[in-house]
Symmetry: C2
Subunit: 300 residues, 2 copies
């Protein structure tokens, strides 16, 4: 049970966690913090949070659990604001899509990474933003990865794990660098391809026509290009090394594919497409079997 | 009104057209032709077709309209089989995703492109195949592009246009090369990116883990990688020139993006993602406004 939860960043991610914990009866009071008064007032009106403030230092006062769900680029600033204002036993966690940068930011802001900071990443989201897009089922059967350091408090990890489980998620621990490489492949690369494709097509002379004659598959394929640009700018910068490496690998894949097409090598093309279809069908079957329907949008 | 429709290839595309025309009362008898007896018998059982044969030459006898919906790689063989077996006034059309290759195949098989051949392309589909996946609403509010040649019979074009309109589609005429370049951008390139991504990830050492921690966005993004590999092998070969050019452009886009990420240029990244999001959101709004919900899968 969480007595007093401070959520810094009451958007899709923070708002959905609040709604889920409330629905599960797993939280007492929830204080929300954000820059937009309008969004905070909406969150109060919707019953997502009990009270609000624009000052992170005020939000975390007396909180036993602090969840930070802001774009990675402002993470360090938030850490600096709450530093010295936390309860001694307060546990801090976050929802950032890159974990190495969060740990570097914490080390810089706090002097060292606090033993009660549990870096975390809920693998869930949609292409929509703001508390108005939040809903309590967002984390049902979704994966949450925690990346505690060797010195991280075991009690703090247990508390964060219990929070996500109460929200309906499955929780796994993972090494920081491994998380960042894994997500570069499964999430950050696909987002770059979707953004890159739409940007390329939008810059074509006959872009109106291209979009007009795009079919249903295009809508699904490009859904993630409707994601929050600020959030993705920050993810790219925070995970620049791992993501650059994946983009380079993908560049080689595409160059090879172009060569195979140019030499009209039907056997090779059929082998590639058959292999990819089998992998994708197995992935979908796996998702269905695990009960994580994944009907809503964005991975992050 | 179509008296006797011969559908060569009773799969998702051919079967859905049959169902739509039947529902609209726009057709008398429908004869289906295909290689799989099992699929043909299913089509008869489902009431999609009235009769069936495995021989295209038999299927087209007495037909006033012939619709060929087979992978592009077997198009020429079908033309060769029906050549000399058609009614004098029979109109032929097809559903191939590339039009230049269909015209080349027709010229080779018939000696010259028949004046009553109207090359066509319904921009609709899902990632599923076979008559069992067909449904009468597939073409509702979807675009169909016809690419008649200068010598194509106006009556033949009118008959094919009326057929697609009866199925609920919007019909546009277009130049052959323009069609093939447009579809290389809006459909063939996205399919290559989806296949390429899934293939790349499936070949990674930790591919199980990558797929396990992929979120809902990944499912949508890769849906088109579950499409029919034979159909896509043939599309790649048939549209090799235009598709290679698009792949080269995309390779440059991705190389530029990787450079921007490596130098951590937040302003540039934000500009790219904001531009792409605006284009994609406008596309979705446009689709919604036109009534083409595009809720089902594959563009082709």
């Amino acid at each position: 049970m969480i007595e007093r939860l401070a959520i810094v960043g009451v958007g899709l991610i923070g708002g959905s966690l609040a709604r889920a914990l409330r629905a599960a009866g797993a939280v007492g009071e929830i204080i929300g913090c954000g820059r937009s008064v309008e969004n905070l007032e909406l969150a109060v009106d919707l019953g997502v949070i009990d009270g609000c403030t624009r000052d992170p230092a005020v939000a975390v006062e007396d909180a036993d659990l602090v969840f930070i769900a802001v774009p990675l680029g402002v993470m360090r600033g938030i850490f600096e604001r709450i530093q010295g204002r936390l309860r001694d036993d307060a546990v801090i966690t976050d929802g950032g899509s890159v974990k190495g940068s969060v740990i570097r930011d914490a080390a810089a802001a706090f002097g060292a990474v606090p033993s009660r900071l549990v870096p975390g990443h809920p693998i869930a989201g949609t292409e929509h933003s703001g508390v108005g897009a939040s809903f309590p089922e967002l984390y049902h059967n979704r994966q949450v990865i925690l990346t505690p350091l060797p010195h991280t408090d075991a009690d703090a990890v247990a508390k964060v794990r219990a929070m996500w489980q109460a929200a309906g998620a499955q929780v796994t621990d993972m090494d920081v660098a491994h998380h960042d490489a894994l997500l570069a492949a499964s999430s950050h690369l696909p987002h770059m391809l979707a953004y890159g494709l739409v940007d390329l097509l939008a810059r074509q002379q006959d872009n109106d026509e291209i979009f007009r004659y795009a079919a249903g598959g295009f809508r699904d394929f490009t859904r993630i290009a409707s994601s929050n640009p600020v959030m993705w700018r920050d993810i790219c910068i925070a995970n620049a090394e791992a993501l650059s490496a994946m983009l380079a690998s993908f560049g080689e894949e595409i160059a090879d594919l172009a060569k195979t097409i140019r030499r009209r090598d039907g056997d090779d093309l059929l082998a590639i497409f058959t292999r990819a279809k089998a992998a994708r069908d197995a992935y979908v079957d796996g998702v269905a079997a695990s009960g994580a329907a994944g009907v809503r949008g964005e991975s992050s």
